[in-house]
Amino acid sequence: MIRAIGFCLLALPAMAQEVPRFVEETASAGLTHSYTGGWEHMVGGGVAVFDCNGDDKPEVFMAGGTGPAGFWRNDSATGGALTLTPIDAGLGLTAVTGAYPIDIDSDGITDLAILRVGEDVLMRGLGDCRFTRANEEWGFDGGDAWSTAFAAIWEAGLAFPTLAFGTYIDRTQEAFPWGNCTDNSLHRPDGRRYGAAIPLTPSFCTLSLLFTDWNASGSKSLRVSNDREYYKGGQEQMWHLPSGEPPRLYTEAEGWKRLRIWGMGIASTDLDADGYPEFFLTSMADHKLQTLVAPAPGTLPDYTDVAWAKGVTAHRPFMGDDPRPSTGWHAQFADVNNDARADLFVAKGNVWEMPDFAAADPNNLLLQGPDGVFVEAADRAGVASTLTARGAAVVDLNADGALDLLVVNRNAPAQVWRNVGPVGNWLRVALSQPGANPAGVGAWVEVRVGDHLQRHEVTVGGGHAGGIWGALHFGLGAANAAELRVIWPDGSVSDWQTAPANQAVTIRP
């Protein structure tokens, strides 16, 4: 419980849409890494960000493809220049495509789910940024697929999270891969070990997975974004996840509409604070921003695409002289100028010398304005790299309340930028509950200033092959305090509480 304080909370004070300046500190920070490889590493290249030494400055794990994965301790000074120190944490696996941090055994120490071309590996955190393989200890069968996506959720009453792994092409079919997507799998726990994997058939070459309470029902569903380049008869998917029962697909009869894109990544947040999340789907050429047609209790999963109306089609390079369509990968909603509105970062990069698509394809940093329309600012912010991006993380690396940026590039150097502002006030919100799922995965955190409400869902998954574990970041604009509450995974709702700006708070039930 945070302490109540006596700030007067008025309407969100007006704040001009600032474009923060990002300074690239790749070299000075000590980040030397590339995601390398050929066909089997044309996708992937994720980055996992999490604090494993308790200093509130998250460490960084990057997939390496044919090279070893990299791990860096974050030695940045608070508010200062970024410093990433490579250390041997026992994570230097090869054939890694991505990773997601998560506290699987709820011991308060972050673990890591590592996706690979080959066996996936669960690494149990030992504390102080040391890890050990836990597949055998936790009864986890890592398989032998080309893994490219991950998501996790705690189902009611279970000690361990249910894990979903997304896979890509049957790599034995290199000469004729089309129509040869391998099955995704669901790993449900039995006590503190995992049972046999449940195939999520049919699967359609998945590049992003996300458990989400899309209809505010309190029940999670699994959204699946698939690459139409390789499937036959496929489409975007969503699975019901009924407790104790086999997962089953949403059908057309339930309102699910067929959408077939080059699905690469999912970003989600409740942009209009109506209680129902929007979903941004990266693809090639036009990207999608889905919002429910009829957001109300009992709604069907009937989405309309508002990407154009909201300015986030991101369909071709916004700068330079390459007119060809873009290729999007990781996407993340994050408030980079702390104006209390979620912005959107999209990592861009050609798949692999595809001449129909842009070669010099700058990343997007789309700033949301007061009218809900996003405006491109990557060039003005200094993050419009045209290297071949894949994974990324928008995260506060130096604990100054301004979100920084990490990008993994394929067969090119990874990059890191420090956000030097200007930015507004902020709040960092962590959850802590007793027992399983201490970090409250599946909860919704609501922050409001006056009548301006922000809502973020606590998720593990989405993006492209990597994610962030830790507190949620909220911009507050010029407000010096905010109210916040939590809708916990069990449906209980905390009281509104007030917190002063520019600090990290932990909310407990």
Binding site: E174, A175, F176, P177, W178, M354, D356
Partner: protein, 435 residues
């Protein structure tokens, strides 16, 4: 008279695991032909530039290349040079030397496919290389001089066709065929964008009718009368056509929905409409064991007819520049109506699939017969069951009406599209291939 000795490979055969429909022996040029074509169907599906008109063009050039390769070492065939616009005489074999027909054809197709699909993605590139390697292994039993000579001839034929293709106006397709700038025609009757996709705010390939035709004398050789005059008046012919689309859409049977989806043939999600008809030929070739000569003859005529169909159809589309049903119905009848299929991003009249299918049916009927029954399993891998047809025209008529069921075309575009296709296809039927 067949004067030259043809050297076969005997037992030298190669199994290509990814092509289950017909066992491949590299000594069998028929299998070489269908094997490469199977890969081409996938490349069409997975190469972003390959909208239906672009695909039709590739099928024409590949068909002609295959025909010239198959016919190159025979004495009973006629080259298409001089019959197709701008095609000069092709490289010829030396009548005193020995060649292998499978090696000639494999060399022709491997080079031509690589050229026409040079902008496919990394997976397509790997697949083409893997195909070339596997086919090459099957030819290693040939005497080195025969193999080298046959491959040289095959490459020369391919190079000749590729060079010919570069002058037709359709060789360069930018931004997947959507121009960066385009001025819409004023007036309520004319096409406006119907998609929320930013790239599709200009029409696909508005200049495609300027491409050099193949067998058809000119792009407007099979011009159509105008569609019913635009009117928003209830009872007018145009309003009645729109009401037919609207009411049909509201009462679609499951069979009609199936038909609409079966012939949807969306680019990048299928081999496209021309690829659908090529697939039908490959299925028939497998089922009936057609030899290379027969298959190549049919595929060349079909490719030419379909490419001309898109040129002629596009000439009419941009001459009439008619709006799509979704635009009219939203404006006049029901602002909330949605068609079953995604409306293609270009003018409505005539229906491209109808023109194409009319041309295809004309060619295939002439080649294989009027009452030629077949099952069409093109989309089985996509979960759509095979459909039986008593004739090619029955299939073409179903393909055409599917566009009305799908809510993307009016009846005039469907019916006159078939008429236009029949007219265009007749030019390909008149090509001489045998002495």
């Amino acid at each position: 008279m067949h004067r030259r000795r043809v050297l076969g490979l005997g037992a030298a055969a190669v199994a290509v695991a990814f092509l289950p429909r017909r066992a491949l022996a590299a000594s069998d040029p028929g299998a070489v032909l269908t094997t490469w074509y199977r890969l081409v169907l996938e490349l069409v599906r997975h190469t972003a530039t390959y909208s239906p008109p672009v695909a039709s063009r590739a099928f024409a050039y590949l068909g002609v290349a295959a025909w010239e390769a198959v016919a190159s070492d025979r004495g009973d065939t006629v080259s298409l040079a001089g019959q197709l616009a701008g095609l000069p005489p092709l490289p010829a074999c030396d009548p005193g030397l020995t060649y292998n027909p499978a090696a000639i054809l494999n060399a022709t197709l491997s080079r031509a496919v690589a050229a026409f699909f040079g902008n496919t993605g990394p997976t397509g590139q790997r697949a083409m290389q893997a195909m070339a390697r596997q086919m090459g292994k099957g030819l290693t039993g040939l005497p080195a001089d025969v193999l080298a000579r046959s491959e040289a001839l095959g490459h020369a034929i391919a190079d000749h066709i590729i060079a010919w293709s570069l002058t037709d106006g359709g060789a360069v397709v930018e931004n997947m065929g959507f121009p960066m700038d385009y001025t819409l025609t004023d007036g309520p009757a004319h096409w406006v964008p119907t998609s929320l996709i930013r790239q599709q705010q200009t029409p696909l390939l508005p200049g495609w009718a300027n491409n050099r035709p193949f067998a058809m004398p000119a792009g407007n050789s099979c011009a159509l009368p105008p569609p019913p005059a635009y009117s928003e008046e209830v009872g007018s012919a145009f309003h009645a056509e729109a009401m037919e689309v609207y009411t049909t859409s509201a009462r679609l049977t499951e069979d009609q929905k199936t038909i609409a989806r079966f012939w949807s043939d969306d680019p990048m999600l299928s081999p496209t409409p021309p690829g659908h008809w090529v697939d039908i030929v490959l299925q028939i070739s497998d089922r009936d064991g057609l030899d290379a000569l027969r298959s190549a003859d049919i595929l060349a005529r079909l490719g030419v007819a379909m490419a001309d169909a898109f040129i002629g159809c596009w000439e009419a589309k941009f001459a009439h520049d008619l709006l799509r049903p979704v635009t009219y119905i939203h404006r006049v009848i029901d602002p909330n109506w949605e068609p079953l299929l995604i409306t293609p991003p270009f003018p409505e009249y005539p229906s491209g699939h109808s023109t194409l299918s009319g041309a295809a049916a004309t060619v295939l009927t002439a080649s294989l017969g009027a009452d030629f029954a077949f099952d069409d399993a093109t989309h089985e891998a996509d979960g759509l069951a095979a459909r039986p047809f008593p004739s090619f025209w029955a299939a073409a008529q179903e393909a055409a009406i599917s566009r009305l069921y799908g809510g993307i075309h009016f009846r005039a575009a469907v019916e006159r599209g078939l008429d236009q296709g029949a007219c265009i296809g007749a030019h390909a039927v008149r090509l001489r291939t045998l002495v």
